[in-house]
Symmetry: C2
Subunit: 357 residues, 2 copies
């Protein structure tokens, strides 16, 4: 973090690939904005960040990231308002979190000025990639990988911090069904579950595939010790509404401290909703589903914003949630998006204006 | 596994880099043998394996391995005997294990013929890279990574299975001191600890760095739930000798099923040593250290073969192990290496002859 600020080197793309994108039938992650940022770490310091055309890079087959998984990432979004102004949502939290993740994965922390300079520069260069309209955004993926070559199991001495961007529209638009895990686990006490470490996600794919074979889109993870406590979903924190109360698990070293999660907690409280942050037993949810007090379940995350969960399987039984009037998830999602798209006041000071002119 | 065998495509290196290697001052992982194997998986099948000169490859910044850590690997060694014959040690176990790891990380399994054809071809082409003499070997690193581009958190549809090789000599030649973990953990029940998944190693670097700052080379992991049971070290399984008994933890979904571990168990039994495979309490080892019955601790792994552990720290106290006469670790290491280097009978049929002429 003490690296002195040296500015950015910028090489712009000769031509834009924007006209190749079918925005009406957008496949998330298929198209990348014209520019990316790559910053190398070597000789103990982050070098001058390079803005350059998006494209492949050369990697040694012995690069540490392939063997030892030193890799962390973030996910954030840029929104365009009715006046073509571009906004980020709580980007400082993503910046802080990637450094928390990096520390746990023995990756050197990235300087703040570099991060924000790169974001501002990329979004200015590629502002045309950000489309207006509800659900539309430019998804921003900062990530860091160990690039030193060498197959000995020790931290890399060289890294790349990269930012790539791709256009996104709303997804998970239909409610999802989830499986509550009673065998597989996502993370351990003293482990890396609180970090956005690449390996956490790869590790979840096989159990998620098994859930998909049973007709579920996602797994809700439980604690690895007892499988009695509800934790989070693949890329979302999870909220349960019992009666008029909104409950979500506390963060821990097993659970990601989601930016959307904490925003939803604040918005719900602001709306006068009774929010409880505490451990939640699987049994409590099953009981509430049986006696009809379980009104809603939803996931929160940057990619999905809020994804309604319409039912869950636990221990072989499927519990279908009833339709409720004026659901919290719809109201809270609207409140959140109104702030993100600059359609409402921002009482919490969450918006970050990007200079694109 | 049903992919029909289509043979290999071979492009040989124009010239060898062998003369650049300083074998007297070998740095492990610095030099790679002239050839590598890359096999692509796409359209639902492994394509024809390519043997080609070792060198960098092009990767999309959005390749899944960088973001979601779908990456598994193996570590094996080729040995050269006094007659210049080349041998692998139980390669079938490594082949089986990488597919076990792959399955857990939602990576398609690799065909057996491809694996062995590639190994035989590489070792024939690069047989000069294998040096004779105790401790010398060619370290072989097969690995598989998700290469499809796209930042959505789902399994890759494209992979590369790669084999690279690098010359190795004995390491950990001086006894190591270890720290017994009482906070950080390596893996969870229902997790991926039994897989050689890249992320497991990156996750261990930070706690290992903390141990190094205290003067320890390695961490011995304990179970994440209670930290009461001894599991394994960073890249080694661990054996404890109490009195004349040799004890090691059973494998589980948290512990790697080490090839060296099971070989040492068999060799020890063959020598008439009393071997117990059972859970071991930290308290039992501390007690044995105190009353003088703890005679030896050693780690077993392909890279280190057998690494003697001369002491450990637990809960702030350092326990130094006494020097013992005719230690098991020395005798068992010799027995193992005599088989590996074809200097002794091979009663267990562990050696695999490589045709290099
Ligand atoms: C494991 C996990 N939990 C929760 C979240 C939600 O976090 P955020 O709201 O910051 O996107 C994510 C995705 O970012 C995640 O990967
Ligand atoms: C976590 C872990 N445990 C144990 C081992 C030892 O296994 P093997 O003897 O098969 O090399 C390794 C290394 O391969 C490892 O990575």
């Amino acid at each position: 973090m003490n690296t002195p600020h040296k500015g950015l080197d910028i090489t712009t793309a000769k031509s834009s690939r924007l006209d190749q994108v079918d925005f009406d039938n957008l496949v998330f992650g298929k198209y990348y904005a014209d520019h990316m940022m790559i910053c190398d770490y070597k000789d103990g310091a982050w070098q001058t960040p390079q803005i350059m055309p998006y494209g492949p890079m050369e990697m040694e087959p012995s690069s540490k990231v392939f063997h030892y998984g030193q890799a962390v990432f973030e996910g954030m979004k840029a929104f365009k308002d009715a006046d073509d102004k571009v906004w980020l949502f709580r980007p400082e939290d993503n910046f802080n979190r990637i450094n928390i993740s990096s520390k746990r994965m023995a990756i050197p922390e990235f300087p703040k000025e570099y991060f924000f300079d790169a974001l501002n520069t990329l979004l200015k260069l590629d502002s045309e990639w950000i489309k207006k309209g509800d659900g539309n955004s430019l998804y921003i993926r900062p990530f860091a990988i160990g690039t030193e070559y060498g197959v000995s199991a020790s931290p890399s001495n060289e890294y790349k911090f990269i930012i790539i961007c791709c256009p996104a529209k709303a997804y998970y638009s239909t409610p999802v069904k989830v499986l509550i895990s009673d065998h597989y686990s996502r993370s351990a006490d003293g482990g890396v579950g609180y970090a956005k470490a690449a390996g956490n996600y790869g590790a979840s794919f096989y159990p998620t595939n098994l859930a998909k074979e049973k007709g579920y889109q996602q797994v809700i993870w439980t604690d690895a010790n007892t499988h009695e406590y509800l934790e989070e979903a693949g890329t979302m924190n999870v909220f349960f509404r019992i009666g008029d109360k909104l409950i979500t698990a506390p963060t821990s070293d097993r659970i990601l401290d989601g930016v959307t999660r904490k925003s939803i907690i604040d918005l719900a409280k602001h709306e006068g909703i009774d929010v409880e942050v505490r451990r939640i037993k699987v049994g409590e949810i099953v009981e509430a589903a049986k006696n009809g007090t379980l009104k809603e379940i939803f996931g929160t995350g940057t990619a999905a914003t809020i994804a309604q969960i319409s039912g869950f399987e636990q221990d072989g039984t499927f519990y279908d949630l009833p339709e409720v009037e004026n659901p919290y998830n719809v109201k809270l999602k609207k409140m959140l998006q109104d702030i993100q798209y600059n359609r409402a006041e921002d009482p919490f000071d969450w918006r970050y204006a990007v200079e694109t002119k």
